[in-house]
Amino acid sequence: MTEPGPAPEGATAPPPPPVIEFHGVGLTYPGPPPVPALLPCDLTVLTGDYVTVVGPSGSGKSTFLNIAGLLDRPTSGRYLLDGVDTGAVGDAGRTALRGRRIGFVFQSFHLLPHRSALENVTLALLYNGTPRGQRLALAREALERVGLGHRLDAVPSRLSGGERQRVAIARAVVARPSLLLCDEPTGNLDTVTAESVLSLLDQLHGEGMTLLVITHDREVAARGRRTVTIRDGVLREREQQHEESGVRT
């Protein structure tokens, strides 16, 4: 099941470790009868990759997301994030890794109501040791990068769906994570808005961000450079049908 990433392992300089390395990672919910949610699988995501994960609901996509996002522990195998064995660190360490290395983008945005866009973005800097004085500047910079420099003080209820997701993306990238983990990022958006959000993701990818996008939408899946399919808990990688150049503008 192992498929090497498209980027060749260079021997010239010490290569950065892959962002994600799954070695036989699987999860089975205990208790009679045991339910296998994700069968043991291998996967490598290199720096700068754009990987989409597709599959019908109930296939194990969420389980995969939870494991990759360090929200859940696999019951088998080893998971290395940035070369750090996540099985070897305790809960506090996993939380710290999650806060510093992974940016989450959710289908339902998960913005705090009654807090301005700027405050929502600074929230991502609250738990990772960013000095207080720098947070506002970093958050402002991130919001400008997603094209919301003019809506810094708007509360979520005054933002459109696309704008909300842009705030969420700004929040996910403000801490400069190694991995941007998007769970159905366009699931709550209309086609036009979805397109703008996907363009933003393309742009981030172009700037060197590693993306892992989970979706059931084939259109969205087509944007990635690699596509991974999960069906009945089995993870399989297939070659991208489209040419990348055709997708990225």
Binding site: D82, A92, T95, A96, S108, H110
Partner: protein
């Protein structure tokens, strides 16, 4: 084009949160729902308010008792003529010069022996203003008091008219009398202009003064007071039923000392014939006041605080359930369980603190209001006001323990699924 830099290779595998961040996050959480926050802290406001009000009112009334006490009671000593073992043989234990002896003591202001003259059973037992008319016209059973001139000083009188009888009248056994205002009006004596007389048991006494008011022994206002020596000449020593007493007014703080000295000064050979009654210990009196009502109200205040705590706990728990997605998000952003616990604990503690601050203010206002209405001096211990907000904060903190624990147990996976 900006390139994303990777985070440092070796991660510091802990996340920290400064107290300042904790407080600002908690305040942010509370300000999301200002109305609800205000209602939540109402219980604490009431509890702490009652606390401060009760303690303040107790302190105020105690202080009030103290001031009354200092003015009169604390400076008053009464000596009773018990007669010791010879009560039957000695109708009057006080020596003739009792007033002079006692007034020589340091710290004594005035002193005087007095007793009720018993007219009952005598031929003529009335007190009347004129000799003419029926015996029935007079005041039967009016109180006749035989007294040293010193007694009139000791009761701190206000004269309506005339003067008090003095040492000269006493020494020369003059038939003079001082009337209390109440008795004077009943006898129809309104003025001393035409030198009125009263007839006590048929004996005429010239009225030299009318008392308008006295600070001690207010029964004197319904009495006619005659010099003790004159009374002894006419009616003899006091009856067994109303043995003589001595009233001594002292300087502030001297009363207990003087009470000890009095029997010796009066009759060194028969000290056992006198029983000196010192004023009660002000400390004992004050603590008895705070013990009775105070404890009851403190109990009520505690009940209020408990209700307040339950209110905070309930609302915080609801807020935790309501904010489950937020908790999940914070966990995803790198918050540890302890950070979530800390945030909710801080929120409830801040609620308690705010309730405590408002409660302390309200309680103080109540104390001041009551004091103003009663013309008292408001006394609130600084310690009470200082600790009240802390008590509120502690209440909030305790109330937040369970909800905060629940919040920390929320799994981010579940929370984010919503």
């Amino acid at each position: 084009m900006i390139r994303f830099r990777r985070a440092p290779r070796v991660p510091r595998l802990t996340t920290r949160m400064s107290p300042r961040d904790l407080v600002s996050e908690a305040l942010g959480g509370l300000l999301q729902r200002p109305g609800r926050s205000a209602l939540t802290s109402l219980g604490t406001v009431l509890g702490v308010g009652t606390f401060v009000a009760v303690l303040g009112l107790t302190a105020t009334t105690s202080a009030q008792i103290d001031s009354t006490f200092n003015a009169l009671t604390a400076t008053e000593v009464t000596v009773e003529d018990t007669g010791g073992g010879d009560a039957d043989d000695v109708p009057l234990s006080f020596p003739d010069d009792a007033q002079q002896r006692v007034e020589k003591l340091h710290g004594v202001e005035h002193a005087g022996v007095y007793w009720q003259v018993g007219l009952e059973g005598r031929e003529d037992d009335t007190v009347r203003a004129t000799l003419t008319g029926d015996a029935g016209d007079g005041e039967r059973g009016a109180s006749v008091v035989a007294a040293d001139p010193g007694l009139l000083g000791a009761v701190e009188p206000t004269l309506r008219e005339g003067r008090l009888f003095g040492a000269w009248h006493s020494e020369h056994r003059q038939p003079v009398a001082v009337l209390g205002a109440g008795l004077a009006s009943r006898l129809g004596i309104t003025s001393l202009e035409n030198a009125p007389a009263v007839h006590i048991g048929g004996r005429a006494f010239t009225v030299v003064g009318i008392l308008d008011d006295v600070e001690r022994q207010t029964s004197l206002l319904l009495s006619v007071i005659v010099p003790r020596t004159t009374a002894e000449d006419i009616w003899g020593p006091p009856d067994d039923s109303s043995r003589a007493k001595m009233l001594v007014s002292t300087d502030v703080g001297a009363a207990r000392q003087i009470a000890d000295e009095l029997p010796v000064a009066l009759d060194p050979a028969h000290q056992d014939r006198f029983g000196a009654v010192p004023p009660p210990d002000p400390k004992a009196l004050r603590s008895s006041v705070s013990n009775d009502l105070g404890q009851l109200f403190l109990l009520l205040a505690c009940v209020c605080l408990v209700i307040g705590a339950v209110g905070i706990a309930n609302t915080t728990l609801v807020a935790v359930l309501e904010r489950t997605p937020e908790i999940g998000l914070r966990r995803a952003l790198g918050a540890r369980g302890i950070h979530v616990t800390g945030q909710f604990l801080t929120e409830s503690a801040v609620l308690g603190l705010l309730g405590g601050l408002v409660g302390a203010s309200v309680g103080t206002l109540v104390v001041v209001g009551v004091a103003v209405a009663q013309h008292w001096t408001a006394v609130v211990e600084p310690l009470t006001v200082a600790t009240a907000p802390a008590a509120g904060m502690l209440t909030g903190l305790l109330a937040g323990v369970y909800p905060a624990w629940r919040a920390a147990r929320i799994q981010p996976v579940e929370a984010l699924r919503r």
